[in-house]
């Protein structure tokens, strides 16, 4: 249905189609009084402008949204070594690997891995008033910023060179942030398959971080 009156057609010397054709320039900062007049009288075009500004502003939040596979650095490092770009192991790094050999770290990391697995595959409880969902999702509960398991891992990686320990902490924080984001999304729409997948991915990411610590420890034994 086209309602010329409510959409500003013919008002202010400019109609909606003319406004939209010039909207790209308007957003770039080239603005005319005709456009301003049309905007003040047309809800459709002012809504459109508000939405496009909102999309553009929110786009920045995607800039560092995703985390690569935690093992990617190992692949890059191996390639750099094979090309001779990494010339000699840092003494600090050797010290780190020597510390990692400590036998007790392995069972601790393995326990953490199991804990993460239980968390990942624990199905959602169906309450009396809840309808049964076709898709089983992890139980949604507000995740603490740093869990007891995380604290244990961070305590063990504290013996790494500071740059590595900080990087590990950042990775863990990001994985936890992803989990919280996905859980928030699922609270709004528990059946959203996309958010469920994001939550699974986030848990897998966290699991990989734990596994990475175990693998590195085993490699050096």
């Amino acid at each position: 249905m086209i309602n010329e009156e409510s959409h500003g057609l013919g008002r202010g010397g400019m109609n909606c189609l003319q406004f939209e054709n010039a909207l790209s320039d308007y957003l770039e900062g080239s603005r005319t009084s005709e456009q301003q007049a049309h905007l003040s009288s047309c809800t459709v075009c002012s809504n459109l402008l508000a939405d496009l500004n909102l999309i553009s502003a929110e786009a920045f939040s995607l800039r560092e949204l995703n985390e690569p596979n935690p093992k990617m650095w190992n692949t890059i490092e191996a390639q750099l070594r094979s090309e001779g770009l990494i010339r000699e192991p840092s003494p600090l790094l050797s010290d780190f690997f020597r510390r990692w050999r400590t036998a007790w770290l392995v069972p601790v990391a393995a326990a953490l891995l199991i804990a993460a697995g239980v968390k990942l595959y624990h199905p959602a409880k169906v309450g009396e008033n809840q309808s049964v969902s076709k898709v089983s999702i992890p139980k949604i509960s507000p995740a603490p910023t740093i869990s007891a398991e995380d604290k244990d891992v961070l305590r063990t990686v504290a013996s790494r060179p500071p740059a590595q320990a900080v990087a590990y902490r950042n990775d863990l924080d990001q994985a936890n942030a992803f989990i919280r984001d996905a859980q928030d999304a699922l609270r709004n729409d528990p059946n959203d398959i996309y958010s469920q997948q994001l939550l699974m991915n986030a848990y897998e990411q966290k699991q990989m971080l734990y596994r990475l610590a175990v693998d590195q420890g085993n490699d050096e034994q």
């Binding site: 086209i2 909606c16 054709n21 320039d25 995607l62 690569p68 890059i76 990494i86 320990a165 990087a167």
Partner: protein
Amino acid sequence: MTDAKRPKGAKLSEPEAIEKAKQGDAEAFEFLYHLHKRRVYSLCLRMTGNTASAEDLTQEAFLQLFRKIATFRGESAFSTWLHRMAVNVVLMQLRKKNLPVVPIDETTEGEEEGTIRKELGAPDERLAGSIDRLQLQRAVDELPPGYRTIFVLHDVEGYEHNEIASMVGCSIGNSKSQLHKARIKLRDLLRVNRAEKAGKR
């Protein structure tokens, strides 16, 4: 050098790490990788919409960077240099796979008028005051490849139209026009998504 470039508790600053990496220091390479990995990976993922490709391209971008790091003289910011390298790696890959870097004009004709027509039937429908970033990520992933490239380079990465035109090989006007169409398309996708969610409730 700002504090932002020295992660809390880190021994190295970015310039120190660059100098050490030039000498082949493993810890410095790793520091630089961790400092920039999220931005580079997110860029690759947004532009390809594919996790496996994004991982390959991220790896390739960092390898190229580290192979050339000895030539970095600091005329531009290190991050600018790296991100430009990552963009080039992705664009080269898209071209190799014959995926459109710039939208094909024929496929976009008529869409501008369509936008207004859709608006006319629903004057009060607009996005709420904020957009969930996961919804936005999903909508960007659904954009046609050419639109996605321009949108990511401009609105996500912050490149100017003249830089985009030079990188992807199109005119400045074309870059502006495709960005506008990409935003319109995103708005449609977000509104459809919102309407679907409302319908489920």
